[in-house]
Amino acid sequence: MIATPIAYLIYSSIFLSIFSISVSLNFRISKFLNLAHASAYTFGAYLAYYTLSNNINILIGYIVTFLLSACLGVVLFAVVIKLGKNLLQATIISLGYSIALEEVLRITHPTGYYLIISQSPFTPEIREILSAILLLSILLILAILYKSSVGIKMKFTEDDRFLAEIYGVNTERFAFYAVISTFAVLSTLGFITSSSYAISPTIGWNPLVTSILISGFTSLFRLTGFSHFVTVVLITFIYSTVMYLVI
């Protein structure tokens, strides 16, 4: 399946869509650019390496990755709330957090790169299917949320956080959920796709930068709610097609 160019295009679009939705959701709800997403992704890939090299059940490894990364998200949120008073400060804190996580991984893993292609049960086909399921689940959850009464509050927070707070919306709670859920999703993505490349502490930066550019471009359309995230997916597909044709 992965051998055909079209399949590769679809796979890379799905991968980038998950990353871009996470970056965008965090930015719109939590109101800071979470640069620690790069290390969340890396963290998931390293946990996949641990799981496979220690012959741990893949499902247990997956659940542990999800829970541990959610915990890391909680720690980041606590630090940001305690120290970061505005967008720039919170972003700088997330950058520090990202570097700290990466360096802990680098120090504890003296070998530069790790390859788990032969050990991984995630064949290219399984990887594609799991990534597609992950993307569809995210979109479904977002669609349900935005259709519910919570969605109105989320849209309000996206539009104007200050005004939302005046009208009694607990924006901090939404920010908390946005940080931990995006952290967990990206670690999961790192876990699933870990067999497709050599694992090193800086693998998360490349997709993060691309996702920031895609999210930034999508924000020009000034959409809110679910339609914004659908546009993110569409733009990611266009971006992947253009890159494929150019390169």
Binding site: V79, K85, N86, L87, Q89, T91, I92, Y97, E102, E103
Partner: protein, 317 residues
């Protein structure tokens, strides 16, 4: 007495104190080559190069009001252009060409970015720097059938440690003295007015566009110079010259130094020495120190109010 004279009179004492501090620092630096200790000389050169880079960052922050997290762009670009040109010509031509092209390109880039707001400026410079870091891994050049570059980077002619020390010393001392004199002269007033409020500066007749061009030109010029010195010190240019830790180094220095020129030099020396010590104990552990400083930066700003951080707090209301 004119406004300029009154300003000069008021700042005379501060200026003299700063110049005395710089004189003491440079006197110590002047004596280092006489120790004949290779490691000490090497670490001082590296610290001087980082000090020059931090001073370029300081100039844009102090007089242009912008936090530049893409300062590694001129730093790495100058080294890359120099190294690539060196494959086809002699060292002097490649040094001048690399410095000029890098200065021109980054001046234009930063000047265009001045059109966006302060917060977006931080993000875009940072993202651009990471993009260059990613792209630089794929930069390869084919000369006489041989392929150079990629992850390995490019080689450059080796330079004697004494000549590199002298060059770095001359550049650092002249740049810091000129910047110190400029900070306390009446010529810095339009820059400070522009930094604090662009619209007000425009309304009193300050040619804002010219200032923007000057700020970006001087910043790019100094940062490109530090990049070339860095490449000469290691006789090598690699994608790591665009890496995140180069970009955040001046920011960390500004947190520790409260944007005073002698303190910038001392903080750069302290960070380089500490990084080297930590690196020898545990490779790359110094980046953990950088990470902790970044995480605590808003808290540290309560004690060390760098002008950039002070502006964050003002903009925060």
């Amino acid at each position: 007495m004119s406004i300029a004279d009154r300003y000069m009179e008021k700042n005379k004492k501060n200026r003299n104190t700063m110049l005395t501090q710089l004189f003491i620092i440079f006197s110590v630096m002047f004596l280092i080559p006489f120790t004949n200790n290779y490691f000490l000389n090497w670490i001082f050169i590296l610290s001087m190069i980082y000090s020059i880079l931090s001073l370029s960052w300081f100039f844009m922050d102090e007089f242009g009001g912008r936090v530049n997290l893409g300062i590694a762009i001129p730093f790495g670009l100058s080294a890359y252009i120099t190294s690539i040109t060196y494959l086809m010509s002699n060292l002097w031509v490649s040094l001048i060409f690399g410095w000029m092209i890098s200065t021109a390109c980054t001046t234009l880039f930063f000047y265009l970015l001045y059109r966006i707001d302060r917060v977006s400026f931080v993000f875009i410079t940072f993202i651009s720097c990471i993009l260059l870091w990613i792209v630089s891994h794929s930069v390869v050049v084919k000369v006489d059938g041989f392929i150079y570059g990629g992850e390995e980077g490019f080689s450059l002619s080796s330079t004697s440690i004494l000549s590199l020390y002298t060059t770095s010393f001359v550049f650092l001392s002249s740049i810091s003295i000129v910047l110190a004199m400029f900070s306390f002269s009446h010529m810095s007033l339009p820059f400070k007015a522009f930094r604090d409020d662009e619209k007000s500066a425009r309304s009193v007749g300050i040619k804002v566009e010219r200032l923007k061009l000057l700020i970006t030109l001087i910043t790019s010029c100094i940062a490109s110079l530090s990049g070339i010195l860095y490449a000469l010190l290691f006789s090598h240019t690699s994608p790591e010259m665009f890496s995140i830790h180069i970009s955040i180094f001046p920011f960390i220095v500004s947190i520790l130094s409260r944007n005073s020129i002698p303190r910038i030099i001392l903080a750069s020396f302290l960070l380089v020495a500490l990084s080297d010590y930590m690196n020898s104990a545990l490779p790359n552990s110094y980046l953990l120190l950088y990470a902790i400083i970044l995480i605590l930066s808003p808290k540290l700003a309560n004690f060390r109010v760098s002008s950039a951080i002070l502006r964050w707090r003002i903009s925060d209301g």
